[in-house]
């Protein structure tokens, strides 16, 4: 059974995010005020084949733990559609 998984990987709270900070610094110059807490992460979409949703989720979580995220600095969340 084919599933489409979406994985969002963000830096953990409390870990400085240079990309976010740079965007935040750049926005006022472009005329955007009142913007704060900019955080930049990754969004990964992939198709997995699994017996059922349960198995698909486990597969993708495995991938996140071992590969798609770095637990030292990043947290992740997984959503599935079939």
């Amino acid at each position: 059974m084919p599933f489409v998984a979406t994985v969002n990987v963000m830096l953990k709270d409390g870990i400085a995010d240079p990309q976010g900070q740079t965007i935040e610094r750049a926005l006022p110059a472009l005329g955007f005020s009142g913007v704060a807490d900019v955080r930049v992460g990754k969004r990964i979409r992939l198709a997995v084949d699994a017996a059922d949703e349960q198995e698909a989720r486990e597969q993708v979580q495995q991938m996140c733990e071992r590969l798609l995220s770095n637990p030292v600095i990043e947290s992740y969340e997984v959503t599935l559609e079939s």
């Binding site: 990309q19 740079t22 965007i23 610094r25 750049a26 472009l30």
Partner: protein, 728 residues
């Protein structure tokens, strides 16, 4: 799909060219054939407007092993040691999408070098943008530099120098030129499909709809409001695949497994299949079902002209096919046999069992249209040359000096080159920040010098003089670091060739380049022409960028521009003409003028300076040529680089300090050697004069004095202060 009357026009072919195609084929072309002709006969691939002029360039020389016409020129820099040297432009793509446009520009020139069997070992990036006060321009600068950095660094080729020039005329048409130096590692290769029965293998990235019509649409049509619609043809670079492609191809050559290879650039698969066979007098039967693809449902014509990056075509004897595939597997890149060399003279394209194209290779590759475009000296050039050069004296010499020093064209380019790996290969003896880069070739003690120069303002005022000045400055720059100028590549950036004045600028440029190259003994080994750098009728300055290659004699010392020791004498070599202000940095920055005539160049005096710099090698401790900003800027650059101030003996006025007379350099030497140095200069046929002493923490120009610290922060701060904190 059927041919509608106007289809060829949509593909950028004229009615006349369409007629010629029908003639060559003896019938109407198929859609696929028409697409193939449209890319191969585009300005970008066929040089139809420039050919008759390029033929006039001097290309012969004892040390030139391969001249124009192949992937890159080949120059023997020492007995048995040969290098490839070539420049390319990626102007239009980089304006549409700066990061990927610049990145794929690097990828393209690197594959040109690779196609000769050379390992790419150094890059340079001559860049032109509009003024930095514009946000879009800052976005372009940041994107282009980041694109070059991410691609060049990742494939492990150092970017050791370049140019960064900011002028109004480039605001809507930035120039992204890239030059690459390679060294023949195992043996010189040629892009020839020899030997009927041999197999054509496509290696590298899979083929998608990237840059469909790129060559004919993106690179060969003037910009206008509709250029937004051209955006889907943006190509994305994959430096990782390029790195694997480099290693795999060099291993194939090392193990003698291939007969010939060529890169896939503009024109996609159409290009090597027709050019390699046309050169070898063979034909090729190609089954495009075997082309590994990224997207489903691609039409044959899309496969034939797709400009997907990081691909090469290699021709292999049947007995070596398995070995070739094994090497590609080891390097983890895809490879598929897509064709067979045949005894005919035709390129035959087969898709799903049907012949979708059957074209004489020569017609595609060599028989493109050749135009003798009308040209005429524009009337505005007389008014321009009659207008003031902008040499009037400043209110304050000191503020004029600070203004010129912190002008983005003069100021330090560190913000750019610190983003480039300029050290890998452990051969960068002189990196960015000097007159030329000096590279020690891997595994040898052979040292070559490279630099790029293209003074657009001079060329605008007088394309003939400007082109001579460009070659002279490039030669001077390599001579300053201790090298002998050997050969040039070039990148000729111009407006719309269908306009008489642009074509005149082009022909004058060729004439000037030829004269200078002949006199200085530096033949042209190849290059690139980029036309249609024009938006809404406004063309860029004619901008010939000269890439000069030199070699440092085995016994010679490599020399930097930094003042090395306190109390040494500063000697000015060459004569200053107080009238040389046309197109100068001073005229632009202080008087807001670009007019008059460019500085007067006497090629004999330039040759004399170059001879002096060679003969004085043992006596002088640093040397730096005078270019943009004149004497005061050259002195300041050497002071900042050496962390030492100076004191001039006499207070010069603005003509002495800012004139941009060519054929000059400042050198330093121990005071007791001044006599010898002056004698060497006079013997070489130029003049020399002691003008000051190295030392202290002040830049003491006599008429005024500036703390070294203050000059340094103005020089180093200009770019970062405007370009700081960009998004990547």
């Amino acid at each position: 799909m059927t041919i509608t009357a106007s289809l060829h026009r949509d593909l950028g072919l004229t009615d006349d060219e369409f007629e010629q195609i029908c003639e060559r084929l003896g019938r109407d072309p198929s859609y696929t054939e028409l697409a193939m002709f449209s890319v191969m006969w585009s300005e970008h691939c066929s040089y139809k407007s420039s050919r008759i002029h390029l033929k006039k360039l001097p290309t012969e020389g004892a040390h030139i092993l391969v001249g124009p016409g192949e992937g890159a020129g080949i120059i023997e820099v020492a007995p048995g040691v040969s290098v490839a040297w070539k420049a390319e432009s990626h102007n239009h793509p980089s304006f549409v999408e700066p990061f990927n446009g610049a990145a794929t520009g690097v990828g393209g020139i690197v594959r040109d070098i690779l196609s000769m069997g050379a390992r790419p070992i150094a890059l340079m990036d001559p860049l032109r943008f509009g003024p930095l006060d514009d946000a879009r321009t800052r976005y372009l600068v940041d994107g282009v530099v980041h694109g070059i950095s991410s691609y060049g660094n990742s494939i492990g080729v150092p970017t050791v120098g370049g140019e960064a020039v900011f002028e109004d005329c480039y605001a809507e048409n930035n120039l992204v030129n890239v030059a690459c130096l390679g060294v023949i590692e195992h043996k010189l290769m040629h892009g020839r499909a020899e030997g009927p029965g041999n197999i054509a293998i496509l290696i590298g990235s899979s083929t998608g709809r990237d840059g469909i019509g790129g060559a004919s649409v993106l690179a060969s049509a003037e910009f206008d409001e509709t250029s937004d619609e051209k955006r889907p043809s943006v190509q994305v670079g994959d430096p990782f695949s390029e790195k694997l492609l480099i290693e795999a191809c060099l291993e194939l050559i090392r193990d003698d497994l291939i007969v010939g290879l060529q890169d896939l650039g503009a024109g996609g698969i159409s290009c090597p299949t027709s050019e390699m066979t046309s050169k070898a007098g063979t034909g090729m039967r190609v089954n495009i079902d075997n082309v590994h693809r990224r997207e489903p449902g691609m039409e044959p014509f899309e496969v034939m002209i797709s400009e997907s990056q990081e691909r090469m075509l290699v021709v292999v004897e049947p007995r070596h096919v398995d070995a070739v595939l094994a090497v590609c597997t080891k390097w983890e890149i895809e490879a598929n046999a897509i064709g067979e060399i045949v005894a005919s003279d035709r390129v035959e394209i087969i898709s799903e069992g049907a012949v979708v194209a059957d074209v004489p290779a020569h017609a595609l590759a060599e028989e493109g249209p050749v135009y003798t475009r009308p040209l005429a000296r524009p009337s505005w050039i007389d008014e321009l040359q009659a207008s003031p050069s902008g040499d009037t004296a400043p209110a304050s010499l000191e503020s004029a000096f600070m203004a010129v020093l912190s002008s983005p064209n003069v100021a330090s380019k560190r913000w750019i080159w610190e983003q480039y790996d300029h050290m890998i290969f452990l051969g960068t003896l002189l990196g960015p920040g000097g007159d030329a880069a000096v590279i020690r070739l891997p595994g040898t003690e052979v040292r070559v010098a490279i630099t790029c120069d293209g003074p657009g303002r001079y060329c605008y005022l007088d394309p003939y003089e400007g082109a001579r000045l460009a070659v002279a400055e490039a030669a001077r720059n390599v001579a300053c670091v201790g090298a002998t100028p050997l050969a040039i590549t070039n990148c000729l950036n111009f407006g719309n060739p269908e306009k008489e004045d642009v074509m005149w600028q082009f022909s004058e440029t060729i004439r000037g380049m030829s004269d200078a190259c002949l006199r200085l003994g530096t033949p042209v080994t190849g290059g690139n022409v980029s036309f249609y750098n024009e938006t809404k009728g406004r063309a860029i300055y004619p901008t010939p960028v000269i890439g000069m290659l030199g070699s440092v004699p085995a016994e010679a010392q490599v020399r930097g521009l930094a003042f090395p020791t306190e109390d040494e004498a500063i000697v000015l070599v060459g004569t200053t003409d107080p009238a040389d202000f046309g197109g100068s940095e001073y005229a632009k920055v202080v008087n807001g003028t670009v007019g008059g005539r460019p500085p007067h160049l006497d090629l004999d005096k330039e040759a004399a300076l170059i001879a002096f710099l060679a003969h004085a090698n043992g006596s002088i401790t640093s040397s730096h040529d005078l270019s943009g900003g004149g004497l005061c800027i050259a002195l300041t650059e050497s002071a900042i680089a050496g962390g030492k101030g100076f004191t001039l003996d006499a207070a010069g006025d603005h003509t002495a300090l800012f004139s941009e007379s060519p054929s000059r350099a400042i050198v330093t030497c121990p005071k007791n050697l001044v006599g010898d140095v002056i004698a060497i200069a006079e013997r070489a046929g130029t003049t020399a004069l002691t003008i000051g002493t190295v030392g202290g923490a002040e830049l003491d120009f006599g008429a005024f004095s500036v703390p070294l610290e203050a000059a340094m922060s103005a020089f180093e701060g200009a770019l970062p202060n405007t370009l700081s904190s960009n998004i990547q």
